[in-house]
């Protein structure tokens, strides 16, 4: 017997499926076609069996079921809990870039308006600089500064949102490395399933693509860490210890990601043990 979109074919017998479109979609998605015995269907025979009226009707009915399945699969994909988080992190990182870029440009412009302006010796963060620049006399300039500030505050609330969402979706990874960095790992890996399938050694160097390929191509020293460098225990570790901390952290993250994917809940015992192991890696004996 062979299953086709309109029903089953057994020898010369055509048995149309009579259920709803949804049930038919389910039936087709669950059917297993053995390709060694497979023969493409001849639409004229489907017509001769009275299942469709003509070519147009054949295509109409076929398209109906294909649309149904595609729309169903797309909806399924977007329902994945990690998909929205992925977009949120990417938006966050791009907003950072945009805000920095615009602030830099605004500072350069402000220097022209006010030649004595400098950021030296006054620990003038981007934020504080914006406050000063708002005193400019050029209306358009002031409006731009206000826009940058607004974007910065939107960025801050997005950051909290990302962090909170990561705590839910990646409870174990977030416990080890913080929600934000965990979310960034997820974004680079391309999803929770992908992150959970990565070996620890890959997680260790996610985000160090340039260094990794220069190592593979021309034998420069291999990168010790990628994104996980952003975690304090890696960048605060002494230079000799950093590689080791990164390695242990990545190993534990690989396990954490798998717990996150398969069990979808925090495992306090695992987290405690992992924290201890990472702590030990940073200690100089």
């Amino acid at each position: 017997m062979q299953s086709y979109w309109f029903g089953d074919v057994r020898g010369d017998e055509y048995i149309p499926f009579t259920g709803s479109t949804g049930e038919n979609a389910q039936r087709i998605m669950e059917s297993h076609t053995g390709m060694d015995r497979y023969v493409p269907v001849e639409w004229t025979r489907v017509r001769d069996q009275g299942i469709v009226r003509d070519r147009e009707d054949y295509l109409d009915k076929l398209r109906e079921i294909c649309f149904f399945i595609a729309e169903y699969k797309i909806a399924q994909h977007y329902r994945g809990r990690d998909i929205e988080l992925l977009q949120m992190v990417r938006m966050l990182d791009e907003m950072d870039e945009v805000i920095n870029l615009l602030t830099e440009r605004a500072v350069d412009w402000y220097r022209v308006q006010n030649p004595k302006f400098t950021r030296k010796y006054r620990s003038l963060s981007g934020k504080k600089a914006l406050v000063i620049m708002k005193k400019s006399e050029i209306g358009a300039f002031r409006m731009i500064i206000v826009e940058i500030e607004r974007m910065a505050s939107a960025r801050t609330s997005l950051m909290y949102e990302v962090s909170a969402r990561a705590d839910q979706i990646l409870p174990n990874c977030s416990a080890l490395i913080g929600g934000l960095v965990a979310a960034r790992l997820l974004s680079r890996a391309g999803g929770l399933l992908h992150l959970a399938s990565l070996p620890a050694s890959s997680i260790q160097v996610i985000g160090a693509k340039t260094a990794l390929f220069s190592h593979i191509r021309s034998g420069t020293p291999p990168p010790k860490h990628g994104i996980i460098f952003q975690h304090r225990r890696v960048h605060n570790a002494s230079k000799e210890r950093r590689g080791r901390v990164a390695r242990v952290l990545a190993a534990k993250l690989a396990i954490a990601a798998r717990i996150d994917y398969y069990r979808q809940e925090a495992d306090p015992e695992f987290i405690q043990k992992a924290q201890d192991a990472i702590e030990r890696a940073g200690v100089v004996q």
């Binding site: 087709i28 493409p40 269907v41 076929l62 294909c66 649309f67």
Partner: protein
């Protein structure tokens, strides 16, 4: 194929992706579509009204829309959800496009929808490109045409493109596919070769 002053066009409802029109025909840009590039290089295969086409790697449906303008029906296979959303929008207004959300490496998952086709066009960037073509040739009728756009870098970046192509030719031969022509689709697309094959 319809040419107006050496510009390849197709006849159908315009405005699919912001393409230009020429005397009411839709301009088919060789820089945006690898299949169009193949026609510009004189190595394309005439598309005809009664043809059934299997299109693997349909993406956003831009090239699909042109193929659909020329042919009887197009089975458009795409795996990724995002381009699929666009492809569905194209297919909604072109009644001869059958959108299939499936993985081209697994023909068994969409075999129930297909019939025998006259032409298989494949444009997927995957290390398994050659294998995908061979597996899908089951849907192709005898003497049917298979056009495969090979991104040689997708197969193995460390090897010379010519060596990769020679291997593919061998693999196709073993599977009963004879390579008629092989064209680098320069200057329109870099690192891409188009193989026009025939099923024996």
């Amino acid at each position: 194929m319809i040419w107006i002053d050496r510009v390849l066009v197709s006849k159908g409802e315009p405005g699919v992706y912001g393409e230009k029109t020429l005397q009411g025909f839709r301009v088919w840009d060789p820089y945006r579509s690898k299949l169009s590039a193949l026609y510009y290089l004189g190595k394309g295969v005439e598309l005809e009204k009664e043809m059934k086409v299997l299109y693997l790697g349909a993406a956003n449906g831009t090239t699909v829309s042109h193929v659909a303008d020329y042919t009887g029906c197009v089975y458009a296979v795409e795996f990724a959800p995002r381009p699929m959303q666009d492809l569905l929008a194209v297919a909604k207004r072109r009644k001869n496009v059958i959108p299939i959300m499936a993985d081209a490496t697994r023909p068994e998952t969409y075999a129930p929808f297909l019939e025998e086709v006259d032409l298989v066009y494949q444009d997927v960037a995957s290390p398994e490109q050659a294998q995908i073509a061979i597996r899908n040739s089951i849907f192709l009728k005898k003497q049917g045409i298979l056009i495969v756009v090979l991104k040689t870098r997708s197969i193995d970046v460390t090897r010379q493109p010519e060596d990769v192509l020679a291997d593919v030719r061998q693999e196709f031969g073993d599977a009963g596919l004879v390579v008629d022509t092989m064209t680098w689709i320069l200057p329109y697309h870099r690192d891409h070769a188009a193989l026009v094959c025939r099923k024996m």
